[in-house]
């Protein structure tokens, strides 16, 4: 029997969970690795150097501070975590002294002066970033575009914008062959955009965050509730689900949610306080982004919410097991249920609101349009056309004024009626469009209307109405040209390129030329192409969609042909169809008159054939 004599007494519990401080810090460093790698890939080795310098400075300043205060050196890796996070928060081409100053500030001022690890009241990295932003506003806002091939070794400062500073203009038009909105989303998700070194690649942040959650290093409540609140706030402040997604995927929000808001010392200890803290973060971040002077608000929001943490943990205490009120009743779980309620409400609001404000972007491919700038399909299936134009409000002999107009014209899903018109820009002097002339009316009703006068007979408001009528007609035209399915007819002769049919509507794609030459100066033949839709029942022109005409402004006034029969159009004089007699526009209109004649001829042939 072996003698047992080496045993020692110790306090219970005799087992302990595997977690220890260094392992936790190591886990955070591991989780930051994807961000470091992606930052290096997109922004080059210079950016990696920034992170390395920042980390080294943080580590060294902590040890120097320890030496100065005659304390033992600390090797708990927490300084490295601060250094890497701050480094990843810097612009990719910040000068070398930025990480040095930031690192010293973060470690010495924010952390060590307050007692070191676990004692600081504010997140060192977030505070240092805010400090740098205030002290070096210009340097800290100079971003470069993400470029896998071009940035590798270059240290040039070529300015670029982030999504938050430059909007979608800062993004490439297509990414991996995906155009438009989803291209933006993919770009932002994979980090091929301007921004701080580590925060742009959301995929990397999510991988790191998932690792931290799997290792149970961070509490899931903070990132989850932070992002939930931020999403709801973005939806409320921008009123658009697509913008909400772009907001969530841009800037340092995701990085901050996983790596900065979850900092142990500066986040609340009780789970429902954490929820409250995360709600505050989400609200503040989005308010700063929307109304603040700075494009990004994550660091500032973290810093501000850090200040509330001590008071939250001091006065919002967990309800103890079996705790009773003075009256002997079970103590109400106010925080628990209010926080759960807030989260449920936010989630519910998102569930309800996202479909209502989500749009499908619809591309307009074939036609060229005078007024239409974009179309998107809303959740109800309606089409929302953004139209822009100008109304000539000049008073002859007195002044000349062109009022810019912008409206959102909503057609129902079948393209039959205008369901809504939202004025975006129009006269602020009272010459506003009379929307009731349009809303609820069909194409035919609007096209047939002759009296466009508003309250008085001939005012600027009337001219706005007339212009809006043109815009609405173009919306209907675009709908029927681009968004309606026609059945192709086997007919193509002469200038008629294509004939199609839908019920009683016949559509002919017709081409022609207009001689825009100016005698003795230049010779120019403008190629023309239109899609002319004729209603066979009434034998009148219903729509004319422009496919190709002059881009110099010599465009035809299509509206003068609409609703007219072949005879009426043939009988129109040159003066009737041209605004002035001798410009390229008139020449074009004359050509169009002939082309429409060809379409009627084709219709006769198709019907008889």
């Amino acid at each position: 029997m072996a003698q047992i004599d080496a045993y020692k007494a110790a306090a219970s519990p005799h087992e302990a969970s595997g977690a220890d401080t260094r392992r936790i810090m190591l886990d955070v460093l591991i989780a930051l690795l994807p961000c470091i790698v992606c930052g290096t890939v997109f922004f080059g080795l210079y950016s990696l150097m920034l992170v390395a310098v920042c980390t080294a400075v943080c580590f060294l300043s902590e040890q120097l501070f320890n030496l100065a205060r005659k304390k033992p050196l600390t090797f708990d890796l927490s300084a490295l975590v601060t250094g890497v996070i701050l480094g990843l928060n810097l612009p990719p081409r910040a000068p070398w002294y930025i990480p040095v100053i930031g690192g010293v500030f973060a470690i010495v001022v924010v952390k060590m002066l307050f007692g070191g690890l676990g004692k600081n009241f504010a997140n060192p990295a977030a505070t240092a970033r805010v400090f740098l932003l205030l002290a070096y506003s210009t340097l800290m806002s100079q971003y470069i575009g993400a470029d896998i091939s071009g940035n590798a070794l270059s240290a040039d400062v070529s300015t670029g914008a982030t999504y938050l500073t430059g909007g979608t203009a800062a993004l490439a038009d297509s990414f991996w062959g995906v155009c438009g909105y989803w291209g933006y989303v993919l770009q932002l998700f994979f980090g091929a955009v301007g921004g701080s070194v580590g925060e742009t690649c959301k995929a990397a942040v999510l991988v790191g965050g998932a690792y931290l959650l799997a290792r149970r290093v961070i509490d899931w409540r903070i990132p989850a509730v932070y992002l939930l609140t931020a999403a709801a706030m973005a939806l409320a402040l921008w009123g658009s689900a697509s913008e909400m997604l772009l907001q969530l995927l841009s800037g340092g929000l995701l990085f901050g949610a996983f790596f900065m808001a979850t900092d142990y010392a500066t986040s609340p200890k009780w789970r429902y306080n954490r929820v409250l803290y995360a709600v505050g973060l989400g609200v503040l971040t989005m308010l700063i982004r929307r109304y603040g002077a700075y494009p990004e608000g994550t660091s500032l929001a973290v810093l501000v919410m850090n200040l509330f943490v001590p008071i939250m943990d001091k006065y919002l205490l967990p309800v103890r097991f079996g705790q009773r009120t003075k009256g002997g009743r079970p103590y109400p779980q106010v925080m628990k249920w209010s926080m759960r309620g807030i989260c449920a409400l936010l989630a519910l609001a998102l569930l309800v609101a996202v479909p209502l404000v989500s749009y499908t972007e619809v591309g307009l491919y074939a036609g060229t349009y005078t007024y239409i700038k974009g179309v998107r399909r809303n959740f109800g299936g309606g089409y929302e056309f953004t139209v822009q134009g100008e109304a000539d409000l000049s008073v002859p002999g007195q002044y000349e004024y062109f009022q810019p107009l912008e409206f959102v014209v909503v057609l129902d899903g079948a393209g039959e009626r205008v369901t809504e018109i939202v004025p975006v820009t129009q006269s602020t002097m009272g010459y506003t469009a009379e929307l009731s002339y349009f809303v609820g009316h069909s194409y035919e009703e609007i096209a047939a209307r002759t009296d466009w006068s508003a309250a008085d007979t001939e005012t600027s408001a009337t001219r706005t109405n007339v212009k809006l009528k043109d815009m609405v007609i173009e919306c209907f035209t675009a709908y029927h040209y681009e968004l309606t399915d026609y059945e192709a007819l086997p007919y193509a002769e002469g200038n008629i390129l294509r004939a199609e049919r839908k019920d009683s509507l016949y559509r002919f794609t017709v081409r022609g030329t207009a001689d825009l030459s100016v005698q003795g100066k230049y010779e120019y033949y403008q190629k023309l192409e239109y899609a002319v839709t004729i209603d066979a029942e009434t034998c009148t022109v219903k729509y004319i969609a422009t496919i190709r005409e002059s881009t110099m402004g010599y465009s035809v006034d299509r509206d003068i042909f609409l609703g007219k029969t072949a005879e009426e159009i043939a009988g129109m004089s040159d003066e009737q169809i041209g605004a002035d007699i001798d410009t390229g526009a008139t020449v074009t209109a004359v050509s169009v008159r002939g082309m429409i004649g060809e379409c009627f001829a084709a219709l006769a042939e198709v019907n008889h054939g």
Binding site: D5, K8, S12, R23, Y264, R320
Partner: protein, 429 residues
């Protein structure tokens, strides 16, 4: 069913002994039977040196209601009332008995009727104390004068390693259920719930089978989560009732007894056997042959170490479970009715705590099953701000040790909270 939400989940490590049937450990030549290993006043010796005692003979008498009779676990000669080391390190009164290995047994007189009063009196007479570990005299606990509606039987055994209750449930199921009925009779509860953690499926199915459906005794399978077997958490898990803060289980209409206690009640009432031995699990990585043993009270721990082959790479010896048990610093310490396990842990199994700075991770707050904030209690204690420690809930601590278990900085949080609780109580803050 409402369950407590916090707690921790240490590795069970019960597999080495959960299939090992209970065997009896032969009593050693000398036994030091402790007089005060239960809660309450120490028992008063009724024998003197040189007197011959039989196995099951009263050797010390309870001093008041919250105290317990002590019986001789062997036949032999009383060596006197001697000071002997207690697990706490202090010396305490023990009755030394020199075993004559005759095994001559004296039983209690048969109990005539089965009324609450007679059963309670027999439980008190047999010297039964809570065998889950606290050692509260069972008769005092069950004497609730009809305020109990439900008897909760603790078969949770949430501490790692320990399997004595599991083996009792498997090997003494009928006796145990009989004991539960007697306990119900004694406390006046109309029904009983046996709470068993789900990591003991055999015990759950066996006892559910024996209880049947719709009977007065039911079995409740509980989530495997430490401290599921803590009194208040167990009552919540088994009945959905919450014991008010600072109150007793009976304030929630419940009385809790351990399965081993229930068995002891059966033996005292039906077999006229007083309480002088118990089942102890001897386990741990430094034990060659882990066992569940019937051990006579007063057996020096060295005898258990010898019987199970504890080897030299033992780094720590723990009496009780690894979460709440006490480290033993001398194998001369003797067993009592409250010793549920003796663990010989290797270096890898027990954590050497080296405290470092609190990093404020809040894990102790998440883990605390009582809803306290250990991190702030500790800092209030260090600042000698006991009022603040009380505000953060120190007096409600049940000492489960979850906070220390999860602490990545390895701080002695459980001890801090315990100290704060003690100071607050002493100073009446």
């Amino acid at each position: 069913m409402s369950l407590f939400v916090s707690g921790v989940h240490p590795r069970g490590r019960k597999e080495r002994t959960s299939k090992v049937p209970i065997t009896a450990l032969p009593a050693p030549g000398k036994l030091w039977v402790p007089l005060s290993r239960h809660i309450g006043a120490p028992a008063l010796p009724v024998v003197s040196a040189g007197e011959r005692v039989l196995r099951g003979q009263l050797i010390a008498h309870a001093d008041g209601k919250v105290s317990a009779n002590v019986y001789s676990p062997v036949s032999g000669t009383v060596g006197g009332v001697v000071g002997h080391i207690l697990p706490t390190g202090k010396k305490g009164d023990h009755i030394l008995i020199e075993n004559d290995f005759e095994g001559e047994t004296a039983l209690l007189p048969p109990l005539a009727g089965r009324t609450p009063e007679s059963v309670l009196a027999r439980i008190a007479e047999a010297g039964i104390v809570g065998m889950g570990g606290a050692g509260f005299p069972t008769a005092a606990k069950l004497d609730v004068r009809g305020r109990a509606e439900v008897l909760v039987v603790n078969g949770a055994e949430c501490e790692p390693y320990i399997t004595c209750d599991e083996r009792i449930m498997l090997e003494y199921a009928d006796e145990l259920l009989q004991g539960v009925r007697l306990a119900m009779l004694a406390c006046g509860a109309a029904r009983a719930v046996i709470g068993i953690e789900k990591n003991k499926p055999e015990a759950i199915s066996l006892l559910s089978q024996k209880c049947g459906r719709g009977g007065e005794i039911s079995v409740k399978a509980l989530r495997t989560r430490y401290p599921q077997g803590a009194e208040k958490q167990l009552i919540l898990g088994c009945t959905g009732r919450t014991v008010p803060e600072g109150g007793l289980p009976v304030d929630a209409g419940a009385v809790v007894v351990n399965v081993h206690t229930a068995l002891a009640i059966y033996r005292a009432v039906e077999e006229n056997m007083p309480c002088f031995e118990r089942v102890i699990t001897v386990s741990g990585g430094a034990v060659e042959e882990p066992r569940n043993l019937w051990v006579a009270n007063g057996t020096p721990l060295q005898a258990l170490a010898d019987a199970c082959g504890a080897d030299a790479d033992c780094a720590r010896i723990v009496s009780g479970g690894p979460m709440m048990g006490e480290a033993v610093f001398s194998l001369k310490v003797c067993t009592a009715s409250t010793t549920s396990a003796l663990l010989f842990l290797t270096e890898e199994e027990c954590s050497a705590r080296v405290s470092s700075t609190c990093i404020g991770c809040g894990r102790c707050v998440q883990a605390c099953p009582m809803g306290l904030m250990p991190v702030y209690i500790e800092s209030a204690l260090l600042a000698k701000n006991y009022g603040e420690a009380k505000r953060f809930g120190a007096p409600s601590c049940i000492g489960c040790g979850c906070c220390s278990y999860v602490c990545p900085a390895k701080r002695y949080l459980a001890q801090s909270v315990k100290l704060a609780k003690k100071i607050i109580k002493e100073r009446g803050i």
